[in-house]
């Protein structure tokens, strides 16, 4: 099946929201009634266009699709090159899916400088789609860093009381992680020059022969960038702060999409560019992932703040993503098990998409409560089901999904990764399986304390159930979570050729 789209669809997906954002800035707060609609229409159209990616996607090939290439910086042989494969495309669609919901959620809630709030999210959307579709490492890096700016502003202006601390910590942490990636990108660029043809193309980096020592250095540099983003224990400490202080929309984007960039980075850069170093150091990543799953699970259990609890649960769930990605090498070295390896990566991918939906939904739920009571403390709630029955139903659904209940998307990813880890080593599976208990414990205990029981105080007694906007957001997310949980095949089909190709690529040593 050949794609019928001849126009630069990825460029449109990147620049349309950015143009919308700039228009919002120019429009200002005075015309915000119009501005809201501009923001909504822009993001909705972006999502509409992004669905074309899915329908027109050729599921028989691992090659990049919808490719565009233009000269950008000739001196560095760097191109404005875009394209998506089975790994990037679902993430692009996820980004385009979540952003309109963020716009809707802010409709009446954000009163302070609303035009800039929408503008920041629109620009951020364009940049994030760009990160997932960049084929040129320099373009990738530029967008990867540029993305920090709107998020820095979002947390800093619309955040909670400790927003300044949180946002500067967020910026510096991620900046520190990524600068080393920049040095290793430069290093590889110069290696391609030595090989004859200077290039920043990621595909050329993947083909570049590198010695083990070089690979180890590059791997560690990548690890610094992606581990901070995922985030992996022990460089996760920025996340709870950023999540707690960020406004609802900021938390949603952070959890649903920004964290995925770390996982995406591992799959796009670390594994294929430095396969031997990944093989050598996979014990490190696997241990850190298991620590994240188990230890952070316990940490989540004792949180008093709803957002913090979900933030820690995000870290634990993202542990599955890194675990699934790096199990490959264990599986290969045990018995050349390519099916298991592909299953691990499949699981990691499904987990990313599913976590994007579920954690986004959980943060929306907290946002709904916060907008009414202005407290994130679990103690401030109790018996919400009595006053907000519809909301309670959604919250319970998402909580179940978060703890990996079958028939929800949360189950599929975790299950795939667990099976893959069983094939590798019983103890990996045992430790990773702890999440089924821990995840259920902290999420359901949260639900028990917030949703069920007698009405705790007069704030809860005065609660109004969800309005139409909120119902729309939660409803759409609930459908997505259930659909992906009941029938994940379309997603797996889209990814299959790319994942198989990736497994093939990383099992061939570069040495």
């Amino acid at each position: 099946m050949q794609s019928t789209i001849t126009w630069p669809i990825l460029s449109v997906l990147i620049w349309l929201p950015i143009a919308g954002g700039v228009a919002m800035l120019a429009l200002g707060d005075k015309n915000i009634a119009l501005g809201r609609w501009i923001a909504l229409i822009t993001t909705a159209v972006t999502f509409g266009i992004s669905t074309l990616l899915w329908t027109e996607f050729d599921t028989t090939t691992a090659a990049m699709q919808f490719v565009e290439e233009r000269n950008w910086i000739l001196l560095f042989n760097s191109y404005y090159a875009l394209g998506v494969d089975g790994i990037a495309m679902p993430l692009v669609v996820l980004t385009a899916f979540i952003t309109p919901l963020v716009v809707i959620s802010a409709w009446t809630v954000i009163e302070k400088r609303p035009a800039q709030y929408y503008a920041a999210f629109l620009i951020l959307e364009g940049l994030m789609i760009g990160v997932f579709s960049a084929l040129d490492a320099l373009l990738f890096y530029v967008l990867w860093e540029a993305m920090l700016i709107p998020m820095f502003i979002i947390i800093g202006i619309w955040g909670g009381p400790r927003r300044v601390y949180a946002t500067i910590k967020f910026f510096l942490y991620t900046f520190l992680g990524s600068v080393f990636m920049l040095v290793s990108l430069i290093y590889m660029y110069l290696q391609t020059c030595d090989a004859g043809q200077c290039s920043y193309a990621i595909a050329d980096f993947q083909r570049l022969p590198l010695g083990l020592n070089e690979q180890l250095f590059i791997f560690v540099a990548f690890l610094a960038a992606f581990a901070v983003k995922v985030p992996m224990w022990p460089v996760h400490t920025w996340l709870p702060d950023a999540h707690v202080e960020a406004p609802t929309g900021g938390s949603v984007i952070l959890a649903a999409i920004m964290l995925k960039m770390g996982g995406y980075g591992f799959l796009r850069f670390s594994l294929p560019i430095t396969p031997d170093a990944s093989d050598t150091l996979d014990w490190l990543v696997i241990s850190l992932s298991l620590i994240a799953v188990v230890y952070i699970g316990f940490v989540a259990l004792v949180q008093q703040d709803m957002k913090k609890l979900i933030a820690y649960s995000s870290i634990a769930h993202m542990g599955f993503v890194t675990l699934g990605s790096f199990l490959t090498f264990e599986l290969m070295s045990v018995n050349g098990d390519t099916r298991g390896a592909a299953m691990g990566i499949d699981g990691a991918m499904v987990q990313m998409i599913s976590h994007g939906l579920i954690s986004g939904a959980m943060f929306f739920c907290v946002g709904v409560l916060y907008d009414r009571v202005h407290s994130r403390e679990i103690n401030s709630y109790g018996g919400v089901v009595n006053t907000m029955p519809i909301f309670a139903a959604f919250m319970v659904l998402f909580a179940m999904a978060n703890s990996g209940l079958p028939a929800t998307s949360g189950f599929v990813g975790e299950f795939l990764v667990l099976i893959a880890s069983f094939r590798a080593d019983f103890w990996y599976a045992f430790l990773a399986g702890m999440t089924l208990i821990l995840g259920a414990a902290y999420t359901l205990w949260l639900v028990k304390r917030v949703v069920f029981g007698p009405i705790a105080n007069h704030h809860v007694a005065e609660l109004q159930d969800v309005n139409g906007r909120e119902l729309l957001i939660l409803g759409v997310l609930a459908i997505a979570v259930l659909a992906l949980g009941l029938w994940p095949a379309p997603l797996l089909d889209v990814m299959r050729p790319t994942v198989e190709n990736l497994v093939q690529q990383i099992t061939v040593s570069k040495l």
């Binding site: 800035l25 200002g28 950008w72 910086i73 000739l74 001196l75 560095f76 800039q116 320099l138 890096y141 530029v142 967008l143 860093e145 540029a146 920090l148 700016i149 820095f152 502003i153 800093g156 202006i157 927003r163 300044v164 946002t167 500067i168 910026f171 510096l172 900046f175 520190l176 600068v179 080393f180 920049l182 040095v183 430069i186 290093y187 660029y189 110069l190």
Partner: protein, 480 residues
């Protein structure tokens, strides 16, 4: 590159001759003007810059031309740097007018001094002989000393001018002493002959290395690199803001070209020696500049320390000792000048009668008063911090590439680590502007010209960040 020797060098130096003539005319005209007619001097100065740009473009050279028996070089790099210098001087005059008028500094001498300083920069840019280099250095430095002290009633300005003068004189002496030793060993002051002679004598010659050390001290001082940076914060802080702006712009181009002409062209065979010296200076500059900047409460002082750290980055490109490195360094210098001019322009934008606007606190809540100029300042700060998509990122990328290329990966790692430290204090300004509430309700009072030029400056930082090729290709063309 083929060297074309023309004995009659008037064409090669046409821009310098034009500028000098124009300065004399302006000086004469100014004598006959009343105070309220002073704008004529201002307009004439700007016209002179336009004229000089025209002359430079008209007599632009495609290849290296040597004139005046080798004293003077005209080359494409020189032409580009000169054009940039005109631009930065013009922009700094446009930014400064209101401040100068308000503070009684709007006098003819100011413009004449600025133009003579520019002439010094141009002479350095085109120097083919160590004596010409020195001539340019002194022409520039003496004008700057006078400009720093221009506000006669300000004690702090007088103090910083004195400091600048005494330390600058010592540095000039050191430079000259170094030159004399080089002359003693090689028997020539001519840069191209020097390059040959150094190879004959051998780059390991102890006398040469001794002379080189003094030359490096002189260059480091003019750049304001650690450990010869003591004058930078005091002068930046003490001088009237327009003068600080001026010092941060064209003279940086001059320092860059000083290093290129003397080290890269005259002493290129000794690269191993000056590379290790510059590594030390560069790392120290980045460390001291970035760490001390965090403690500042005055924006001019903070930018002074930030300048010191940027000098460290400029030196990174030079110390690579490759053409890629020089090109990267030139790109960095031009980029730095564009952003630096804008940052000081922001201080001038905020200043008003009896209010300097140079404290960090003064930027509090700027976003409330003027969203656009807060955005401009944000772009400038992110650019200086080296965050894409602003042009400062490409400058960092270029010098890091040059350093990694010669195998100094550790140096690149140190540099990026320190740029993270630097990000902190730039972020703090953005925090003040965006996350804090204003402490007063006074609006920005600056006039239309300042606003327009500053806006263009901010847009340029973004536009060059998205299309860095515009500037990169230019640097690549003149430094192939």
């Amino acid at each position: 590159m083929e060297a074309v020797v023309t004995n009659f060098g008037m064409q090669a130096a046409a821009a310098e001759i034009f500028l000098l003539t124009a300065v004399c005319v302006i000086l004469l005209v100014d004598v006959f003007l009343k105070d309220e007619q002073r704008w004529i001097t201002y307009a004439l100065s700007l016209l002179t810059l336009v004229g000089a740009a025209f002359v430079t473009v008209h007599f632009a050279v495609d290849t290296r031309v040597i004139a005046f028996e080798g004293m003077f070089i005209a080359d494409p790099m020189g032409d580009v740097l000169k054009l940039f210098s005109y631009g930065t001087v013009a922009v700094s005059l446009l930014y400064s007018r209101e401040y100068l008028e308000r503070n009684g500094l709007f006098r003819g001498e100011y413009f004449v001094l600025a133009l003579v300083a520019l002439l010094g920069v141009m002479v350095m840019v085109s120097a083919g002989n160590l004596l010409t280099v020195y001539l340019g250095v002194e022409l520039l430095s003496l004008s700057l000393y006078a400009m720093v002290a221009f506000d006669r009633d300000s004690g702090i300005a007088a103090e910083s001018a004195m400091k600048y003068f005494v330390l600058g004189a010592i540095a000039s002496g050191t430079l000259l002493y170094g030159f004399s030793i080089l002359y003693g060993v090689t028997g020539t002051l001519q840069l191209d002959e020097l390059a040959v002679a150094v190879r004959e004598v051998g780059p390991g010659n102890i006398g040469l290395i001794f002379g080189l050390a003094f030359v490096i001290v002189g260059i480091a001082f003019k750049f304001g690199a650690v450990p010869f940076h003591m004058w930078v914060p005091d002068v930046y802080h003490g001088a009237p803001t327009p003068v600080t702006l001026f010092i941060g712009a064209a003279p940086k181009i001059a320092s860059f070209v000083l290093a290129i002409r003397v080290l890269a062209e005259g002493l290129d065979a000794m690269v191993a020696s000056w590379q290790s010296m510059l590594i030390a200076i560069s790392v120290l500059s980045m460390i001291i500049g970035n760490v001390v900047a965090i403690a500042q409460t005055n924006l001019k002082r903070m930018l002074a320390y930030s300048t010191i750290s940027h000098v460290g980055f400029i030196l990174l490109g030079i110390l690579a000792g490759t053409n890629d490195g020089y090109r990267a360094s030139m790109f960095y210098t031009l980029t730095y000048v564009i952003t630096s001019v804008g940052s000081f322009g922001m201080i001038l934008l905020l200043s008003r009668q009896g209010f300097e606007g140079d404290q960090l606190e003064d930027f509090k809540g700027l976003h409330r008063k003027s969203p656009w100029f807060a955005a401009v300042m944000m772009m400038l700060m992110f650019s200086t911090a080296g965050v894409p998509p602003f042009v400062g990122f490409w400058a960092k990328l270029a010098v890091l590439g040059a350093v990694v290329d010669v195998g100094l990966v550790w140096l690149a790692a140190v540099a990026v680590l320190l740029s993270v430290v630097a990000a902190f204090y730039y972020l703090r300004i953005i925090k003040l502007m965006y996350f804090d509430e204003p402490t007063d309700a006074v609006d920005i009072q600056a006039g239309g010209t300042l606003r327009a030029v500053l806006s263009a400056n901010g847009v340029a930082v973004l536009a060059l960040g998205i299309f860095p090729s515009l500037l990169l290709d230019l640097c690549a063309r003149v430094l192939p």
